[in-house]
Symmetry: D3
Subunit: 331 residues, 6 copies
């Protein structure tokens, strides 16, 4: 990712770890205590597990010989309270990684779960993650990776796309570029001149003129080179509506441009996506940002369930290993 694995492990063990884990390490070391413990990790609500691969990469680097690890797979559904990861190892090898381990799964599973809900609402229409601008850029690409794990068909940052194994990031053109050109058709034609052939020619059509008029102007100018128009009508103008999409579609068809697609963005959330789908709006893909980016993390808990092979746990939990046949031995 952003750092080499070794440096990342050191960062997670030290500057990014809750200090009390480090104090516990010092205390236990002072007393010469280092039992083999079994620790189980579970979420507080159901969702899509994501981040487990990053966690396993960490554990592979951190654990010593003899350690055992069981886990569910990246992108699998998980129930509330279901054990998704179990580590049996000397406590000193992984105890201090609890902050990082839980945090990776918390953020990533939150994003992937919400993305999965959006994708379900889209009922087959493609959903592209556009929300990197709504999270700190240190994790923007991670959020986009999680969105793709949750079901999105594309994302907007190069690193996000790389993490997700996609051939390329997705993107059209920003309002800023059109404003600098001062005319949408001029901007679209320049874009067409300078982009590599594999970049889709999708022109944003709400900057200066009515969306229908602009769509027809752009289509007339670019003809078959135009792959689609993007509607991103601001809320001051009522956002993109089902009716606007239908009208643009009808007017493009009447003007002889049936192959020009319609891409919708701007405040799209689960409810609005569902509304477009139910109204059979002829959308080719949705761009979704804040809805996924603002998904709350899923809280994860790590509980010791055995110490030196004996069932032991804290008040409120059942001692001994939980029974979960879905777990696979991964280390």
């Amino acid at each position: 990712m952003i750092l080499p694995a070794r440096e990342l492990l050191e960062y997670y063990r030290g500057p990014a770890s809750d200090i009390y884990f480090q104090r516990a390490h010092a205390t236990l070391a002072g007393e010469g205590l280092d039992p083999v413990v079994a620790m189980e990790y579970f979420p507080d609500r159901p969702g899509v597990l994501c981040g487990i691969n990053q966690v396993l990469d960490l554990l592979k680097d951190a654990l010593g010989a003899g350690a055992e690890v069981w886990a569910l797979g990246e992108g699998e559904r998980m129930d509330a309270k279901e054990v998704v990861l179990r580590v049996r190892a000397r406590y000193s090898e992984f105890g201090v990684l609890e902050t990082a381990t839980l945090g990776i799964m918390a953020s990533c599973s939150g994003w992937a779960t919400r993305a999965g809900e959006v994708v379900a609402a889209a009922a087959g229409t493609r959903v592209i993650s556009f929300g990197a601008r709504h999270v700190h850029p240190l994790v923007g690409p991670v959020m986009e990776y999680a969105a793709v794990v949750g079901g999105c068909s594309g994302c907007a940052t190069p690193l996000g796309a790389q993490l997700a194994g996609l051939p390329a990031p997705s993107g059209t053109m920003p309002h800023a570029m059109i404003l600098i050109f001062g005319d949408t058709v001029a901007a679209g034609e320049a874009f067409d001149r300078h982009m590599a052939p594999d970049v889709l020619r999708i022109v944003l059509v709400d900057t200066f003129k009515d969306e229908v008029e602009e769509s027809l102007r752009v289509a007339a100018a670019m003809q078959d080179r135009l792959r689609g128009v993007r509607l991103d009508t601001p809320w001051e103008r009522g956002r993109v509506t089902v009716e606007l999409v239908k009208e643009v579609r009808a007017r493009l068809d009447l003007a002889g441009h049936p192959k020009v697609g319609i891409f919708v963005s701007g405040g799209m959330n689960i409810e609005r996506v569902r509304q477009f789908v139910e109204a059979k709006a002829p959308v080719d893909s949705f761009g979704v940002g804040m809805e996924i980016a603002s998904a709350p993390p899923i809280g994860f808990t790590a509980d010791i369930k055995e110490v030196d092979g004996q069932p032991r746990t804290k008040r409120g939990r059942i001692p001994g290993l939980a029974d979960n046949p879905r777990l696979s031995r991964v280390i």
Copy 2:
């Protein structure tokens, strides 16, 4: 932070930037267009502005001579739609940083705003950020920094404390350590033996026994060396309640330990903090995690308002600079 400034700038310009800004750059460069533009940044809801310092550090590195920047200060209140940052510069110098700029302010302001609400609810009782485990560790310390900007008195990660300018991170001991010892008193005494003098002796008292009984046992064993007890009762046992706090306080006092403080954690949110404060529960400090960590980002928007000194903007917005006398010229 996690990377040197120069590497961070490159990361933000490339792998972490929405691809369409990079495509716009290429198109404009291809046409030889690079006007001076004025761009204004504003949030979609009110809150505490946070992250602006990181943003200004970036802009100082990125902008060329002649650029002008106005901003509100880190930690200031901002209204919905209020311009908090204005940049007037050649577009090529900062256009591609829009993803990073917006994302830094979005996440940080979301966390700081929520933290401010928790701190207000606590009405003077200290609030410590304990939520690093609920966000991806690449931003855990950043979240804690924002929590302190929003009003928290301490945080749990070393890097978080360093970013926030605190002398040290805060922390007691985890359940895992007590479970390994098998007895709370034994764990407390070992902790006392091995920690530096400046580490507060606060013992977690809900692992094996009733909290009242354990508090009295620990206080009897550690006497004046005990600074406090931490209550973190799990939800399976009804979480920490106002009445439990009052009972522990009364029993410690009856047993001659009036100076032993009570630290409350576990699912504390604004509503629960308010309830404890209203019921005058004798709490010395609250540990708050998920409530702050799960704060949704605040959406920020960047709009071009002038191009080459002329008012110009997109449909739905008012051309020309917004009037905000609170802005200060910072570059």
Copy 3:
């Protein structure tokens, strides 16, 4: 109105009267019964009394010598159950007019009351009645008369304006006319050529192009001859919004047309009017249609309270005349 007074009275006594009043007349006549009765009329909810003048015109034609009538004035506020009209006369002279008397006050007071609420919400901005198309044309002008009694500044039909004592009806131009011209500027200029000087030049600007663009085109073409633009954005495009009005205002001002007014119509109801007023949208007048036209009638009841000078009434009512010092003797 639509018929001479004498024909109207016959219409109300016969074809438009509930048959059972006619049967009661025949029965009483057959028995030779025709006492002087006092009948009181009251509404079932509070509002603005309207239609009383039409009712008094009828009664003047219908009642014989010795009859007495008390009433509140046209346009006065009335409370629920307040007596607004009292007739003391031989029953044969006015009993059969009960259907017409109640019906006139029911419809007119319903419309006037709702209009009064709209006007109150507009807080000083002019409101024009545009709803004749939403009621049967036999009463369209009557509805508009009632809207003006309730506080509207103008109305759209010639007969409505005449009944209300206004110098002229209000009106701009329909979408149909612009569609036939095929261009808004062409339509506006033709309108200007053919209208008398006292007709305000207000051009509808949402037919073909974005409202802002069209407003600027029209203003550029017509210059000082343009009195205003009308925004009537259809719901498929998000209706007229506060922000659209502010944007049109700002762009007209930037382009040097500060005297061109903005007239808003299209689904304006009390809630939307209030929202525009609270947001200080720079509206010059509102056109309101369905909100007033669909006002439910106010139910009126007529009760005999005395027969031949003795208190008498039906179960559920208090015998004898009600005390209402606001009533004036009008016949």
Copy 4:
């Protein structure tokens, strides 16, 4: 109706028409423009279409040779946005009739739709329209006509009955008549003496005494000549209730009057009708007034969809004719 057809057409074209249609006519005439346009009319919510016959009568008088009209039939169900009328003609022939055309369908369809809902709730029990007193008498009979189109079995005004093709209006006797007699039995017997044989002897029984006692008195006096009793208990006495109806029925039966029917009126709305039906109250017919009379109009819109054979329409609508196979060619 109230006026000869020719006078009505002139009234609709002038005094009752929104002035801006007249101004559009003048402008278009001034420019020599009079294309053939196709205009489509549709409602904003579903319901029962009513008034189309009045509209077609107007159009027959107004349109010239070559005009084409398609429509749904009087009383047919219509969907929201479904085209119910299409006119293709020179605009000058019918443009100015838009106010009247829409208004007739708006009011009539609103009343018919609500009446249909009441009739459905009555589940087979007869519903009589009694609400002429709640609307302006210029449209009272029209409202009753629409109520019958919507499903009512009878109505109260002679003209309403005539428009609806009913043999006679329905009606019993008003409280006023009984109050003048001073005794219900005396009033009933006088009614019986003076009415033609085809008038049903239905006596109102709540004026002076308890409804049950009065029903038994009237039945004893009039024996087989009594067709029914009408219950119209005022709200001050709890209105007519299911239990009152059952008690009257039981007491009439006990007293040997099983053929005397029970007619219920007074504040009957859909909810109350449904409640009576569900409770199996032995009601012979319901008199319904305000519930139907206060039905809000259904908003209708007329859109030009073609000009001189070319698809053309305003922003927000789809150009070209809508596809509705339910339409029939009527002119």
Copy 5:
């Protein structure tokens, strides 16, 4: 009450006591344990304390020399969790009375609290308890006593009145008596013949005829001997309404009976009483039954707070005596 004090004490100690208190007694006796304990009693919600006098009577009989008791007074307001009774005595003397002690206060305080709310709603108009028929007759008079403690002016049972220290119970005549007479006037006159002079002549007027008609008949027949009429209209006829009361009042006054009072009963609850008071209905007194009778008991708890002079209590409570300066030493 229903049993001599000594028998009542034995009944409470044995057949009516939860068996586990008796088993605790046997166990403690078997071990020779009988410490002096301090037990405190408190309610779970605020209200009017009632039953404490019955409890103190019991304790006086049960406690030995040296026992100490503190209490609030009968009819005093109490807060949630406020100690209302404290007993310091040997446990064997009163432990087994816990069921009775709590139960007496629970039921009585529930009834008195609800009665107080009804009386407050009546705002000065007298409220009579009529609800003995809605509770088991073993406690019917106790309920009525509590209702008077809570503020009622009278009650219906002789024992209730005696317990409450009232000179006599209140009552008019039941429907059954009038039904047997077959005529209300006949029943009223017979009642007048046979009742002692101190019994108020209040006649129930809704059995056979309309309430207004019957009121006038009774007043005409009994003249000055009639003290009042009682309205108890059944719900099938819409219950007593504000309007009915006003109509009866107006008609009695018109007929020259201004001194005949109006007594209202039948489903009167707090909401309905409040509605009558707000509407200024001329009611002389309200009869309230189910509203008071169905008041839920207030839960009381008894906690040991000291054993042999040492603070001791169970988990969840604070050891040692609570501080309540409102308590008075009563034994």
Copy 6:
């Protein structure tokens, strides 16, 4: 019950009877009127009929020769308004018992109905009535009898158990006893020493220590003599939760005590019982108190329907006997 039948009858006829029934008796006697009447009794809402046996016992003592009585059986379901009791006898024999008759059925049916709902929610797990302390002790055992009629498996007072025909009351040990011992294990062992063999050894485990720890200590000390543990965690500690029950079960099983049952009490209501059942908490029985004790009475009404063989009743009711084939002739 608490009094011999003859004394009870006199108590019900006099001190506990609404005085107006006694006045009616005196009036009717003064007039020499004593017809045979048929009176029918019905509830105002559905439920479980209870108390009818007590009522029939009273009637058997009160009615003379020739009287006829029909009734539903104790514990049967009854519908709203369904006749559950019909008495045909001289009015003087039973009229004055109306207060007692209605009151017995009101309270008992209220309790039985609520108990039935709790038992249904428990879905097969035993429910024990523990609520005598929440009602006046004069009716505590009656309430428990009704709870058993409604479906409870046991109750806590000796008289309640006797009335219900149970072999013995149910009970464990109160907190007071354990507090006096100062240790739960000591208390449990003493209990075991002094109780008869048929008393179940169930030890309350929440007084001093954590419930799990105390359960394990008690089980270790008493071994096979321990039948169960009772959880009654106070609300200050979060009440008993599903998770606590599961944890106690798991820890007892791990420690080799699978036969020790778990008894749950403390604020158990229908909703909480249902929640435990749905979560499959391993509960052996529920102790339910306030939920049943606070059930509102079911209002009963008695109506005369015949006098001397002729149908007669008051306004609002149908004269003559109701048809209810479920009634059986019982006297």
